[in-house]
């Protein structure tokens, strides 16, 4: 395992897209220390900010308050990164495989346009989780993102495939212009969930405020939920399935697009 420890908080954001198992592959510690990082307009070295110890490996542990450190795990294809602390924007953006775990909070754009792998944030996340960058046709195209806390605006914007699960509440525009995939809301959302969605599924275990363009369709407990339940079980999440305890209400939309997406809201029996 390679261990990096942040020496001092950078004064302005530090862009560190070199901090991935792929970039470290085949490099000894000195070579890793010499990799470039970008403090605003200055090109500096990894060891200007981090102490680097351990053995060359596909496993990487980063310690410190990295809230201003951006792009960790960018485009990684394999291996594992554990961030012990908070982390900055674009964590795991365009990631293809491997896994990232964050013990603290994460910022915006985590897993932006990712195509595979797993990101697990124990704390809160910012906005645009798994989203498309401005103007892009689609956001995350596979993979899994699990947020232990809350998440911000535009979670899963234009996502095409994959799963995003959030244990805390999410803010506005969750699933904005979604094209496919699944978003699991364990604790509901603020407003405009599923706005302009074309396809895909948003499941909320708490009642949520819907747009007028999501008319009620039916009550049901679809079998594919069992597949999703099986997929998220290893992440420590469980979906209520028992028809004795409740059902899902299905709202279809967004009829303004017009879209064939669905929002399933769990209704416990009273």
């Amino acid at each position: 395992m390679i261990k990096l420890t942040l020496k001092d908080q950078p004064t302005v954001p530090l862009e560190a897209e070199m901090l991935t198992p792929d970039q470290f592959s085949g490099l000894n510690l000195d070579a890793i220390r010499a990799l470039p990082v970008f403090l605003g307009k200055r090109q500096l070295r990894v060891d200007d900010f981090f102490t680097v110890d351990g053995e060359p490996s596909d496993e990487l542990e980063i310690h410190g308050d990295l809230a201003k450190v951006k792009y960790i795990g960018r485009a990684m294809t394999r291996g594992r990164i554990k961030v012990c602390g908070n982390v900055g924007m674009h964590l795991g953006a365009a990631m293809k495989g491997g896994s990232i775990e964050v013990t603290g909070n994460a910022s915006d754009w985590i897993g932006g346009e990712m195509t595979g792998g797993l990101i697990h944030v124990h704390g809160n996340a910012g906005g645009q989780v798994g989203a498309a960058y401005r103007g892009s046709l689609s956001g995350m195209n596979n993979g899994t993102i699990l947020i232990g806390g809350t998440a911000g605006l535009e979670v899963g914007m234009r996502m095409k495939r994959g799963i995003i699960a959030v244990k805390g509440q999410v803010r506005d525009f969750c699933g904005l212009q979604m094209k496919g995939g699944t978003i699991l809301l364990m604790n509901g959302a603020e407003i405009r969930t599923g706005a302009w969605m074309i396809r895909g599924t948003i499941i909320s275990l708490k009642p949520i405020k819907l747009l007028p363009t999501f008319p009620f369709a039916c009550t049901y407990s679809p079998t594919f939920l069992r597949l999703i339940a099986k997929h998220v079980a290893p992440l420590g999440l469980s979906l209520p399935m028992d028809e004795q305890t409740g059902t899902y209400h299905r709202y279809s939309g967004d009829s303004s697009v017009p879209g064939k997406g669905e929002i399933l809201v769990w209704q416990p029996r009273v």
């Binding site: 792009y71 960018r74 960058y133 363009t213």
Partner: protein
């Protein structure tokens, strides 16, 4: 995917028989908009002027502009996006939830009537103001109106346009686009332009405290930003160019007084419809122009060791 479908103001003057103002108060904020460009003018194809046009105003409260409107639709605060999205569904004849529509403060019949009028007109235009673009939903509210207007073209001619506020903010968009490829919030730190609103927009940078110096011209963020942003401007070295000593000047390390745009400094400004206009200054100012001062600062920077990004900066494909 929607888009942006617009026109210059003369097209509105000559043709628009349906004019919708959403979240703006032109009577007080753009006083000549009605008289010079829109409802009051006799147009080439609207010889009867005001009588030939329908004006609808959508806002959360009754403003001075209501008097000028044929129809006023009062929407509940924070419900604009819901209304526009419902309109997009109704335009296509799709289902909406009546009860949820009524939570917006408007009845389904009112929306249906609006849709019918929009489809019946020959040339429709929506002007949207900061009441729409600066409230909850922000850029998505603007996107909603722009998309509605684009989609209306399946039925009739329709355009939309933001009511730009500050003088030459449209010009800043234009200049940044041709020089950097992006309209605002452009990060040049890696030696080439990058764009990501929310990450590189000023209010976010200031509130997060992401910058370590600020150069402010043609604005007074010390009066308008949220307090944490103002704190950042006070903490880092801030430099201000302004014809007056502003709130920002008072918390800045450096202030330079400049001549007033259009009154003393010559040049170009863009109208809200992106038409460029020459400025005709009348008074000779005792102060240099912004243009001249910026040029002098560039000359002073040029004397120092040049900042030259290395090609490695591009290798990684960051956005």
């Amino acid at each position: 995917m929607g888009g942006k479908v617009s026109c210059t103001l003369g097209e509105v003057k000559n043709r628009a028989d349906f004019i919708l103002y959403w979240g703006g108060n032109p009577a007080e904020c753009h006083p000549r908009h009605f008289t010079k460009y829109t409802i009051m003018q006799k147009g080439k194809f609207l010889p009867e002027g005001r009588k030939g046009r329908t004006m609808v105003l959508v806002d959360i409260r009754e403003t001075m502009s209501v008097k000028a409107a044929d129809i006023f639709l009062q929407v509940r605060p924070g419900k604009d996006f819901e209304v526009v999205t419902a309109l997009r569904a109704l335009v296509k004849g799709n289902r909406v939830d009546t009860a949820l529509v009524e939570e917006t403060g408007l009845k389904l019949e009112q929306l249906q009537d609006l849709v019918d009028r929009m489809k019946r007109c020959k040339f429709g235009v929506i002007f949207f103001g900061m009441g729409l673009s600066m409230t909850r939903g922000k850029h998505m509210n603007s996107a909603a109106v722009l998309t509605l207007a684009a989609e209306m073209n399946a039925f009739t001619k329709f355009v939309a346009m933001p009511m730009r506020g500050h003088g030459n903010v449209a010009g800043a968009d234009m200049v940044l686009r041709w020089t950097t490829g992006y309209p605002f919030g452009v990060n040049l730190c890696r030696g080439f332009p990058r764009f990501n609103p929310g990450e590189f927009s000023t209010v976010d940078l200031l509130v997060r405290g992401d910058i370590d110096a600020a150069f402010v011209l043609g604005a007074d963020p010390g009066a308008t930003m949220p307090q944490p942003g103002i704190d950042t401007l006070a903490r880092v070295p801030t430099i201000v160019l302004d014809p007056k000593v502003t709130h920002t000047s008072k918390l800045a390390r450096v202030h330079i007084t400049t001549s007033v745009t259009g009154i003393s400094s010559p040049g170009t400004a863009y109208r809200m419809d992106e038409v460029p206009l020459p400025l005709r200054p009348v008074l000779k100012s005792p102060y240099p122009s912004d243009e001249e001062v910026v040029r002098r600062i560039i000359a002073a920077v040029d004397k120092k060791s040049a900042w030259l990004p290395k090609p490695a900066t591009m290798a990684s494909g960051v956005m």
